[in-house]
Amino acid sequence: MVEHGDVRVVHKGGSKINFREPALSTDSRFLLCASGESVKVFSTATEECLHALQGHTDLITGVLLRPSNHLQAYSCSLDGTVRLWDFTDGILIRWAKSNRVNIWCCFIYVWTVHLHVCACTELFQLVAVHLPQCGEQLVEAKELSAVLSNISSNPAASAFGREVRIFRCLEVYFFKKHKSYSFFLKKDNQKGGKNTFTCITCHPTEDCIASGHEDGKIRLWRNFNHRKEYTYSTLHWHHSAVSSLSGTNLLSGGVESVLVQWRYNQESQRDFLPRLGGAITHISVSPDGALFCTSHSDNKITIIQSCVKVSAVIQGLVKGDRIRTDLMIEPRSKALVLNGKPGHLQFYSLQRDKLLYNLDIVQQEYIHESGLEQFEVVMAAFDASGSWLATVEERKQKAPELELNLKLWAFDDQKQSFVLNTTISAPHEGRITALCFPHVSDGQTTMLVSTSRDGHFKAWQLAAPAHTEDEGPSWSCDFLGAYHSLVPECCCFSADSSLLAVGFQEVVTVWTPASWELLTTLSQPPGAVRDLCFGRLSCSKYLLGATTSRLLCCWNLLTCSLEWVTSMDVSLLLADPLSENMAAFCFEAGSTDLFVFKPGEPRPLFSHKALCSGRVTHAVFVPREVMLESCDEASQWLNCSHLYFLTQSMDLLTFITKAEEDKLTASSKQLVVSDDVAMTPFHLLLGKHRDHSAGINEVGSLTLRLNRFHRPTCIFLCSMFVQSLLISKEEEMESEKEEEDSDGEMESRISRPEHMPSGESGCAAPALTKEEVRELRRLKKLDHSWMKGLLD
């Protein structure tokens, strides 16, 4: 990213959580998944994200539990490092970096005995990395030994079993013997069979390998210790490629989004868990077998109890291949709304980086079959107060068979959700190109305008029921407008909703919605009008239009004349609802530039060259909860609203000011202190300890060199540590002596607590109970060696 003044472009939320197979902790309480540049730790019970393990500088490509310690996990990343984390507390323990420069870790496996990590280089070699056991936090992995080369980059295509490692096209590599065998399937293409391997897994205890194939078959391989005498049996349920396999009881999943559990040795018995959501991409099983979890193509992780019952769903921001709807802000919850699962709209909270809910628009059973034309939500619009939502869904692109539905949803206060009010099937004969509500600030919205390829625009009116027995008001067509049988491409209401501008190819027509009269026409040939936008507040007399001939025009509606015109290829034009600012995303030489300007002023407020590569077609102004009062000229436009935009690679980006960033970091620091001060039960317990700090002040020195596996949270220790540093010199000496005494045998300490506190604080502190003493002892044992780094 190019640094620009003090306004910076940052990633904001919505990273993929289904990129790699998630890992379940041994006690099934935690779920670790790679999410962009951090590893997220979720609670399996509450679906809540406990913390994110941050440190990698590139996409994380694998997360794995450390077999020798169930509280630690490895992660590897495209930045070429492998890191070891304590995931319960979110602490980085060690990290290893290869001495070779161009190494990418594609995925990671651990071979228990030797404690080394296998990572994949850019040449698709599997290399074994020996991690030297030393106290240093950063280790350089020197011993790199290539094991296999030319393996598939897909982690599903390789698996590690009890004593074997196997790879695609069934190459079985025996780790102990350092031998590899290859087995091939006959390419029987005459039956149309596509028996390419898609995924593979090993039975954790027995010598059995299961492989999934393109044609939906699963083959179980046995007796592969010999090159010739191997056998395999075939299971078939899936109708297309098997994408993941796992577990002692074989679990399989594919595009149909049905989790199939095959009983081991009784393969005819199967359990199904249908309708899980998107296509299953990964399946993982907790070490104790109590939980399964499946990752889905719609950025979702489902946690399933082994009795084949869904217990929790962790849903990330769904970013399909293409977002058909605009980015929108739901006026009530300020949630970001866009296409989600097929046929749904998702409501995504930007503040909490959490998916709030999915609204089922199509209300049809989704059939998981490739090549099937499904209903897609292509357009949606909210009215200003958030009480109405209009959606358009369409199926089949071809003109004669196009199926269109316009649905209007009313917000139900009781359900706190949108409820279907009116369905209009075939509202237009052609595809709908634009949809907009007027901005009525007070009272109810009763109008909607839609423009379509069939050359008409229609105004829909909320009409009271004709008969009192009908359920309630519903929408019906009020006006049908056309202009010289030109195709309308866009429409826009003015800020006070007294004018409607409809762009009919090269001509902009301005109508008054009150009487549906055509007031005036504006045009700036050549080039069809692609985007229309009215100015707000003091600039509401201006109408801006972007044309396909790389022009941005501004008309003054009072004089009905062109105010100014500038040459830029605007791909998206946006107005900030809370200020006069407009944002124009311009496509220039393969990348997108952003200009923020006021229609009435000649100089742009802000410009950012080369924002990202490709066109930006989706962006939104999100009103801030608290207005900023920055006077800096370059960041002033961010005072009222955030600007979010989606790049072509579906990254959600936003702008952040320096001041804000500073505040954020400050508040995260604040968090540590304030957490400590809060009047919690823990604080009371700690406070008591602090009173008798003599017993603890050796903690400071102790913590720095004890077992790193049983480390309490950083926050907990920090206060102790700081406290211990506050104690005067002689007291420290005294306690150190004491510690020397107690170092050998711990039992003596229990008898001592009576006289100890009286010796130091002087005040009549209550005697320590047995429990407290035990607690203290436990604390003493804790490892605080990591603090050394901080002290240095």
Partner: protein
Amino acid sequence: MASYKPTNIPVYPKLGEKVTEETLYWKNYKTPIQIKEFGAVSNIHFSPVTPYNFAVTAFTRIHLYGLLSQEPVKTFTRFKDTAYCGRFRSDGQLLVAGCEDSVVRLFDVSGKVALRMFKGHTKAVHVTDFTSDRYQILTGSDDYTCCLWDIPNSAQLNTYQEHTDYIRCGVTSQLNRDLFVTGSYDHSLKVFDARVDKSVMTINHGHPVESLLLYPSEGLLVSAGGRYVRVWDLLKGGQPLVSLKNHHKTVTCLALSSNGQRLLSGSLDRHVKVYNTTSYKVVHNFDYPAAILSLALAPEDESIVVGMTNSILSIKHRKPSEEAKETAGHQRRRPSYRVYAHRKSYVPKQDDYLVSKPVRQHLAKYDKQLKKFNVSKALDTALETWIRGRKPEITVAVIRELDRRGTLKNALAGRDEQELSRLLSFLIANLVDARFAPVLITAAEMILDIYQSIIGQSPVVDKQLLHLQSLLERELDYQKDLLEVLGMLDTMFASSLPKIELPCSGISTSNGLPQGQSTDVIFPYNKMQSRVFE
């Protein structure tokens, strides 16, 4: 795991009239009892006292019917010629009737012979009524006069000769014994006061007046004549209040519902219309087989009696109310209800742990098959006679769902003659329905594709295919005609619109759907037709 989403059955707007409380109320009558009389039924009048017998004047007789009887309980036959306007006195003891022979006869409802004969008119007497003091009779005659008669001594009290044409209707006030209103073919209504010798008010109806009605409060007067029903405010000196033109032939009779909230009018156009008396909008409409001459409502709207020109008397009784049915059902269920009441009365305590029952999703039969991907079976269940006949939208929705899944061809293929003919008969019934056409045309094309080879093997299927072809031809002609009409309308609209300087085309405030549908429907039909010809 999301549960299975059942097939979405689109709700189509109900065509035809909307179901309102009114229609429910007025529809809640049994099928009519029809009784053949000797001639056109000219008047029906309900006795004001129990058992609410009604007098039916038809040809030379007056029949008295009990409220629930299908045979006359009594007959008055002593008329020399056609009888008119048999009316009860307010105590239900006496009945008066006019006659073509100009004699007015007064009967005791228990006797047979006329108690009194009032002679004095020179032409047929079409109007008779008792005044509210019960001792006088009002008559109106074709000799343009109306008279008041004293019952005890059968003397003519007063004669009013103000109308200039036949007097065919009249009512007396129920609140004042001296007031009465008459309507005549001279287009006028006249309000008379017996205490003065002239009419006190004259109202011009504009058409020959056929029927009159006074509201119970007697502030409003309703007159029917020509195609119009007019309401007049008597308290404001006969100011017109509203004029209703809902019939397309002469309105012949009027009636008020028991609570005075609804006005009914019967007409020669064979309809009875029900108006709301506050908004004067038609809220319901009854159809009858012949021109209606007379109409009466039993107290509490228990029955509607209509007399027609084809001498048929039609009696509709109200169905027993729902509450009565419910209480009957209640008593039968009582024992088992008690058992359940006990269980239901248990209220969980505060620290009780509630185990919620997993809710089982109920799926329709076709959904169960769709869930299992049994496409042919799903189509079979959706084509069951009941669904096919009553709810074609379900069958169409299943076909659409199969099409969406890309398995419609599989579902349609492999059917025997019987199943295929069932499919075809469904297509024949619904293919031309604009709501279903897009879906069914694809299905029909697929059927033709699949079963092309077997055409000519089964007479049943061939016959149905021919039927389908003729249906399509007719539909094509029809659509063509519609398009022509649309074109004509467009030119008319274009010429009638005020000239606007701005060049905007095609403004229509109506819903644009019908235009659009008609055009896009016609092309597939064209294609289909050419295929069927093959």
